[in-house]
Symmetry: C2
Amino acid sequence: MTEIKLIGIDADDTLWQSETFFAEVEEKFLNLMSKYSSDTSLEKSLSSNEITNLRVFGYGVKSFTLSMIETAHLASGGNISSLDIKQIISWGKELLQHPVVLLDGVEDAIAELTRDFTVFIVTKGDLLHQRSKIEESGLDKLVAGFDIFHEKDPESYLDFLSERNVDPVNFLMAGNSLRSDVLPIVSIGGHAVHIPYELTWDYEKVAEGAVPKSGYKVIEGITELPNLVVDLHA
Amino acid sequence: MTEIKLIGIDADDTLWQSETFFAEVEEKFLNLMSKYSSDTSLEKSLSSNEITNLRVFGYGVKSFTLSMIETAHLASGGNISSLDIKQIISWGKELLQHPVVLLDGVEDAIAELTRDFTVFIVTKGDLLHQRSKIEESGLDKLVAGFDIFHEKDPESYLDFLSERNVDPVNFLMAGNSLRSDVLPIVSIGGHAVHIPYELTWDYEKVAEGAVPKSGYKVIEGITELPNLVVDLHA
């Protein structure tokens, strides 16, 4: 028997849609840029610029918006218009203010899990945006709390667990990102559950060789999580 | 006698310079814009745009950078050049990577305070940037911990104190901002110490009528803080 004392659930693309909205903006961006450049690798340039900028800008929409503007400058050969820049910033504001769209079955699954377990929402990135989405979702009223990491690395998870006096072996983390929700949990000896989302941001992708073949579970949707936890805990 | 169980110290403009660097960039921005506009109220437009955007963008350098770009678009009548936008983003990156410059006497004062008291750095805004500065300062090795609020309001302070089982009456907060470090502390019944900095960001300014005449202390620099705490605690 494995005693589960604490459950962590990722937010973006696990509880609600996120990457979908980024992808929509990216498509509008590529469309906007088509009048400046016929470069077919523009999507790759944006993604690579975004990842390069992570170290300085961090995660989130503002970072993405600044990376789009930089990419627009470069890809247009220094000719992006003031109005188009303004358009890109508007997309950033729209992303930040986009209504929260919960994934199917999220509310019921969280309600069921919180009946028997202590559940935290564990996310990363932009303090204001993540917090706003958690509050707008109403899920903060169901769960025991939430934490917004600067980075979902083993150290941050260990700090989070030690503050709550929970041993990694009694912790289960579920989320859509192998890089952020699964690998660090496997490495600290916790229970990881991968719930793939239909889209994965390039940065969160993990090379096939780096994915452990065992040591974590995969389920199709969060609706399967309550039963999995009960089976594990039983 | 007042028992002080926990001391919170603000970071930007209390432990290290911050507003000074923003002001330097603002000056460069106004200079850059002088070729587009002879509007003498541009500084006010930037400040007001920045404050309007806080609700969506939140605090920090990325927010400031996006507000500069928006202001540039508007103030240039939609004619800001791609290259100048790129320049504004570079200033943002420079601000984010600016070396930490501790204010005079900070290290000694913090070292002295931590000998007898539990000291936390309590700041707000950008998770990655604030955390990077705390780590770069080396002060994280002296203090008991740090917390980065999304907003320094009474509720956030109460959450912070309740997580640590500290009553507001046993908490002392010191910082440069009346709005963020003093008023919320006075309102929850804690001990506030104002350490004015030579520059104050418009948003942190408080109308004279809103400043309580008593209920908090004012000192000239952080070097005076250890004695003040000892006197209060004695």
